[in-house]
Structures are given as C-alpha cells and as structure tokens.
Amino acid sequence: MEMKAKVKEVLVNLLKVKPEELKDGVSLEESIGVDSTEMVESVIALEKAFGVKLSPKEISKSSSIDDIAKIISSKISV
C-alpha cells in the first residue's frame, strides 16, 4: 500500500471519519475540521503505526495527507 493510503487508513480508523472526507491535498482542518486534541491523538497513532518520531511542529492542523505522507516517508528512508 502506498504511504498516502496508509496514512489515510490510520486517520480514518482513528478519527472515525469517512475516507472520502480526507482529501489528499487539503489540510486536515479544512477537510474534516480537525481539533487540537484530535491532532495530539493523530500524531501518537501515526508514530505507532509507522515506528517514527513526529513532533507537533512537523504535523499540524494545516498539514494535508500529502504533507504527512512526505514527512513520514522521509523519516523512514533515513
């Protein structure tokens, strides 16, 4: 599965939103109105799912699925 699809799957299962609500190039805030607590939860879940360390500076409400996938890919490949 490509990285974007995996990120989307983690967030859909975690936040209980519909997959079609999460659009690749649109920020999480704009697409699903993510709140700050959901962001905390999302960062922890993504860290667990991909075995990487992420800081709130790297992933925020204004990140899109594309942005998140890129950051995680860069960390995995290092």
């Binding site: 936040l15 209980k16 939103v17 607590t37 905390v40 939860e41 922890i44």
Partner: protein, 408 residues
C-alpha cells in the same frame, strides 16, 4: 419569583427514552431494576441497577464524537435533543449568547475514566486518550451540549450529590428571572453503572443488597428498606419566560414557581435526624412560590430508603403540612428505575409534570409496610388526583436539601 415556563421535556431513563415511553411505564408501576449485565458485578455487595441498553439506537451522535465522550454526556445530548424537539425549538434560530445550560451531576464520567486509567498503568502515558481530560469531569456534558448546539450564554454545572439537578433547575429559574437569558436547557445526567463508580456507591453503604429480588429491592419508606438502587440516565427540560412562551404560541407543560435550598451542617455524610433544615427549605420554596400549604396537591419524595433520610424527610413534611399531611398524595416513583443520583431531582420533576398532565399520581414501588404512619402514600397502583401544584424534594449527602414548587 416570577413563574418560569417549562416547554419541552427530554428524558433518557431505564424506564424509557422519550416522555411517552417513560410515562407509559411509570403509570403502570413497572420496575426496571435488574442485575447489572454491563460487566461482572457479582462480587459487589449491591449489584443491581436501572440500566439503559442500546443508547446508540436513540442517538444521532456521530462515532467521531462518541469516542470523545463518556456515556453521561451522550445521555445529556440525547435528552437535550428530545427536550428541544418537544419544545418545538430550532436552536439555529436562537441568539446563542442568550441560551444557557444548567445541569446537575454527582460523580462524573467514570466509564471513560476507568478505561483510560487502566491504560495509563498498563501502557504508560501514551496509552491514555487525550480526550480523557475533557470526558470525565462533571461539567463535561455542559461543554458537549454547548459545543453541539453552539450555545454561548451564561451556564453552570451544579455538583451537589443527589440534589445537583434539582438545584440546577432552581438556579436556572432564578437566572431567567433576571432576564439575562432567553431560554435554558436545564436538568441533569448520571452514568454510575461502571465498575469503579459502583464500587464507590457501594462503599458509601447506602445501596440495597437485595440482589436476589432486584425489582423489590428499592423500598423507600418501608419497614424492610435497606438502601436505594442506582440508576443511569438524564432528564433535561427547556425553560423560558412565560412571556416568551406565549409569544411563541406555545402552551407550557408546567411552571417552576418556587425554589429553595438549605444545608443541615451536621455531618460529612449523613443528614440531620430532625428534618428541621429540610422543613426550612420547604417553607422558603413555598414562600418563593407565594403558595400556602393548602394548595399543594402532590409531593414527590426524595426517598433514599435509608432510615435516617426517609424518617427525617417525613418529619420535615409533617412539621410544615401539619394536619394536612395525611391528605396530600405523595410518592417516590424512582423506586421503579433506580436513583439517578445527580440526575434524580430533574427526573423527579419531569415525572411530576407528567403526573400533573395526566392527573395521575404514580406509585412508590415496594412500599408494603410504611415505617411511619399518617401519610397518604400512593402504592400498588397509580391513583387519579387533580394536581395543580406540587412539591419536589431532592437531597444530597452531607445534608443538602433542595425543594422546587411546580405548577400547572
């Protein structure tokens, strides 16, 4: 105080969700107290309760929100929606700054908290949901209801053990009297059927241990009483000024016309044995409602089914109503579905309003041999009475007394 109109009722209880289903079960005198099935409670001294199964069936709340909140907030959201529907109010048409929320709760949202605390000790801090911080505390339902409807007006949560929701109603009525809000969602919610909350209720020592006969366990005012039975649910009403209700062309279901509260100041847990302070609260509530003792047609009793509490409650009533005591019908309908602790007073008021509407006094279940004589207890089956004015009594640990006067 000026009368405040109640124009919508929302009820979520073991005896039914929505007022029609609730009243059908209440007037028939059916018990909904059962053995606890949500978890293995068999080793608890008291393991019976009034439970609500399939809460989701009655709710439009998204899964996304449900994972962030405890059951008591879920119950409050359902009861609020039912109350608004009943009142014919679309909150989108209201000025959000002039809508308030006044709710009562005793113990908070432990079903959520227990699970997360378990995860804290098993998995460490990262195992705990970040929603824990906003899910468990007693004012969480107020917050969730305000977010759900975009309500922004002056609001409060009252934590006063079992008296919380009746106090929230009284407080709400007083605030409306100051004309600072257009309308209020008021009442209470409680979800104590969880392993830790049940343990705390058991430790308090006030619960019935008659586990082998759940439906007969809650016996307020009976010689064989051995404590109350807990229940879960929410009771929320829409309150607004009489003028606003009339402007909307709505006939109020009832009015709150008087309220008062007092404290015994005797003990950390127990109430005073003489009922003097409760009597004072009754007197003040009647004065607030400009009502004399001859006008009260029904008394909704607190009925903790504990000798000290029941006897002092009756003593207080006797000291106020004197010779009339034996004539006024009185009952404790929560004996059918359990004591909803911080939500009990609001549910009692809702039951009283429905009793007024149908001119029918519901029973105190399991009251076979009264421990004190000289009172007009309604037992066995509901009895027809025209009720124009009624008194609702709700009390909490440490000797908190609250009394509301409701009228047609």
């Amino acid at each position: 105080m000026d009368k405040i109109a109640i124009t919508g009722i929302g009820i979520v209880s073991p005896s039914g969700i929505n007022k029609r289903q609730f009243w059908a079960n209440i007037k028939s005198g059916r018990s909904f107290v059962k053995e606890i099935t949500r978890f293995d409670a068999s080793k608890y001294p008291s393991h019976i309760a009034g439970q609500i199964d399939e809460l989701n069936k009655y709710s439009n709340i998204s899964e996304r929100l449900l994972k962030k909140i405890d059951a008591f907030s879920h119950m409050a959201l359902i009861a609020s929606e039912l109350a608004l529907q009943d009142a014919g109010i679309d909150i989108k048409n209201e000025d959000p700054n002039l809508v308030g929320i006044f709710l009562g709760n005793a113990i908070g949202g432990w079903l959520y908290a227990e699970t997360e605390l378990r995860d804290l000790y098993i998995e460490g801090r990262e195992g705990v949901s970040p929603y824990m911080a906003s899910a468990w505390f007693p004012a969480a339902p107020q917050g969730q209801v305000s977010i759900y409807y975009g309500i922004k007006g002056f609001s409060k949560t009252v934590v006063a053990d079992r008296a919380g929701s009746l106090m929230a109603l009284g407080y709400g009525a007083k605030v409306l009297n100051k004309n600072k809000l257009n309308m209020i969602l008021a009442g209470g919610m409680e979800a104590p059927v969880s392993p830790y909350a049940l343990l705390c209720c058991n430790t308090y020592g006030a619960l019935s241990k008659n586990n082998s006969q759940p439906q007969e366990a809650y016996k307020p005012f009976d010689k064989k009483r051995d404590g109350f039975v807990i229940g879960e649910g929410a009771g929320i009403v829409v309150m607004e000024s009489v003028q606003r209700a009339s402007k909307r062309g709505v006939k109020p279901l009832a009015y709150i016309s008087g309220y008062s509260t007092s404290c015994d100041g005797i003990d950390r847990i127990n109430c005073a044995s003489d009922g003097v302070e409760l009597a004072r609260a009754i007197k003040l509530a009647l004065a607030d409602a400009k009502t004399n003792i001859d006008e009260i047609d029904y008394i909704s009793l607190d009925g903790a089914a504990i000798n000290l509490w029941d006897d002092s409650e009756l003593q207080a009533i006797k000291s106020i109503f004197g010779a009339r005591t034996k004539d006024i019908p009185m009952s404790c309908p929560k004996s059918m579905f359990g004591n909803l602790l911080g939500a009990s007073g609001a549910v009692d008021m809702i039951t009283t309003i429905l009793a007024m509407e149908h001119s029918l006094v519901p029973v105190t279940l399991n009251l076979d041999e009264p421990s004190m004589k000289g009172f007009n207890y309604i037992t066995k089956e509901a009895k027809e009475y025209k009720i124009d004015k009624a008194l609702v009594i709700s009390r909490g640990r440490g000797g908190i007394n609250s009394v509301l006067v409701v009228e047609k």
